[in-house]
Amino acid sequence: MIVELGAFALILALALAVLQTGMAVAGRLRRSPVLAGAAEGAAVAGAVAVALSFAALIWAFAVSDFSVSNVAANSHTDKPMLYKVAAAWGSHEGSLVLWCLVLTGFGAVLTRARGLPFGLKASAVATQGLLGVLFLAFAVFTSNPFARLDPAPFQGGSLNPLLQDPALAFHPPLLYLGYVGFSVCFSLAVAALIEGRANSSFWPAWGRWVRPWALASWAFLTGGITLGAFWAYYELGWGGWWFWDPVENASFLPWLAGTALLHSAVVTERRGALAGWTTFLALLAFSFSMLGAFLVRSGVLTSVHAFAVDPERGLMLLAILGVASGSAFALFAWRAPHLKGGAMFAPVSREGALVLNNVFLTAACATVLLGTLYPLILEAIDGSAISVGPPYFALTFVPLMAVALLILPAGPLLAWKRGDLRGVGQRLAVAAGLAILIAFAGWAVFEPKKALSAAGIGLGAWLILGTLAELAERLRLFRASLPESLRRARGLPLGAWGTTLAHAGLGVFVLGAVVETGYRVEAARALAPGQTIEAGKWAVRLDEVRIVEGPNYLAEQGRLTVTLRDGGAPQSVTAERRFFPTGGQTTTEVGLDFRGLDDVYVVLGERGRTAADEPGWTVRVWWNPWARLIFLGPTIMALGGLLSLLDRRLRLGVNRKSAA
């Protein structure tokens, strides 16, 4: 019964979305606040209906109702409760309902936004409703998660055991909050293109309305991608955290577009300039989200990450992408030339720096897009199957971003309208000098000597120090008295703190990524119990391997001891190889030994024979220096985004209720 209610609620939500769109359009055309208000009511009711439907789906998973085919295919009675619930969004159908929930949920919050002019709000609500119609129809007609199975099986087919992990249970919801959050930016951009006023006060206000949505989505997406990378790092047992895989790129493209949007929206808000460009980015960010959904679910690209793949549904998603983005960009092409230019600025100015930031981000975004889609393009042209590997991205994306990061610390120090480059240089001189020193120190300390990695360390330090220098400048630290600095710190808007955190977090990430990539040490050998393998300065001894039984798996559990090679600091880790009888799959549980910023990463491989022909196990060990920073940096960035979101100046645009 609850399942039928869930199915009904989903259809009801589709009907409400149609109603929302129709009434919002009619309300806008007739300038009727009653109709527009009713459309907003339909939006809220639609969100409630999707939420009920999603709750019904979770309930079906929680009680293991195998008469629902989606539950039978993706769950199992032996599974721990957390993963039963998480399985609700682990499949194509379930995750699509989650997608719709975020879409309608954000749409409902949008209706509560205050201060939006009548026409703009009605148009945005109509656009959001139309997106809801597209995706809800897709869910109801092609991917019904509540389809029944007759006869119902006694046991389910289980969820892919690799996905049974706390990080991955929360990775999709966070990611979707980011992905789909950009839909509101999309709707507001479409509305602005329709309403597009030429008066000079419109675009700054529009920038202020868009920014919180862009910020929230960006922060969630940052968190979601980081969680996904962390999962890949410790669950796959491949020693890496980013593989430039198409599915990873699919989440990275909206992030890059969203980051560009975040920065250009600042210019639009403060100066009314770049209006056309900001709307373009807002359309682009959500278009990339939809492109990602298409790439991930259609299986047109070979990825190492599994997903329910169905070419026919992929075609439907491509159609949705074509309709939504195609019409939005057509509208843009028609209306953009009529947008007003906004205030003037000199090339060397805050605006100029933000334009440069956008140029680099979009260029980098384009290279990632090309690398991701090139196999598709080539296959369509001459049928040859190719893959574009990490070296391509290392050669294109990395240098572009390196140049962008090199000029980043100067940006926040430049004044609006007309900046003083020499003054900025003076204020950053100390930070630059220190960063160069740190680069040389890195070159001296780390083995083997690598000039590029050392330069990367300098770049990371430059980002952190340059950002702190800007903060010190704002607080007049070391120049004014301490109480005066503290008073200034209290007076500093949260948005400024958020910017500082996000930029410094980026520096932390760069440090981690450069050092881990440049200086990681890998070793692998078959070990009998009692034998030792060395990786860099670490020695890892295999103590014993025993068989343990988990809730739904059997495992070979290896206990290993990590010590420094010259003795001392012993630390015990366990690494497992789990066998899941349901589905017959084996997974790896990495043993992680946290050593300050470093990880000693231990994988227990297959049972085999050692060089001396004793029975043993293959043990792979990675020493990943500074790996902690890779995941710490983006977390700081996401926190910076959330902090900016709390800024009073931004909240004037939205209701007090948080965006989620």
Binding site: T302, P347, P391, Y392, A526, A611
Partner: protein, 160 residues
């Protein structure tokens, strides 16, 4: 600088172009350069001849793991054969095989041919899904009429 346009609007547009052009040129140049060397072509064993896949060139080779061909040497070296049922190539791989590596299943390996035409793999790719068949492998098998859908192993292959 009297060659600059008079109107501030045109001047700003010029500056934007001056900023955009080098970055764009850099991006295009880097992409073209990287595309030349870092695109890996996919072959099935019968397509990978000395002409199409010369010794030392990094390629991807995919097919079904031949039943009974997996030999685990000492010190983690694994040798196995992959086949598209028209030709078979021996693969030598040093390292841990993916958890889903099984005889009779589709895999994609990345590496290069050695002078003796054996294939040394640096990577063995498998997706985290038990019924996974690499798309290229599936396409080639379909083209050759060897495709058996829904992960049913080819005749004669043991079901592990």
């Amino acid at each position: 600088m009297n060659w600059l346009p008079k109107s501030p609007k045109a001047r700003r547009r010029l500056w934007v172009i001056v900023a955009v052009a080098p970055v764009l040129a850099l991006a295009v140049g880097l992409s073209l350069y990287a595309m030349r060397d870092n695109v890996t072509f996919f072959f099935s064993p019968s397509e990978a001849t000395a002409e199409t896949a010369p010794t030392g060139r990094v390629i991807r080779l995919g097919g079904l793991v031949e039943a009974g061909s997996v030999v685990r040497g000492a010190d983690g070296e694994v040798a196995f054969a992959i086949t598209d049922n028209a030709a078979t190539t021996r693969i030598v791989y040093q390292g841990d095989l993916p958890d889903l590596f099984r005889e009779g299943q589709g895999v994609v390996t990345q590496g290069a041919f050695q002078p003796d035409r054996s294939f040394r793999a640096t990577q063995v790719l498998a997706k985290h899904d038990e019924n996974y068949m690499p798309r290229e492998v599936a396409d080639r098998l379909k083209a050759k009429g060897e495709w058996r859908p829904e992960g049913t192993p080819p005749a004669g292959a043991p079901t592990t």
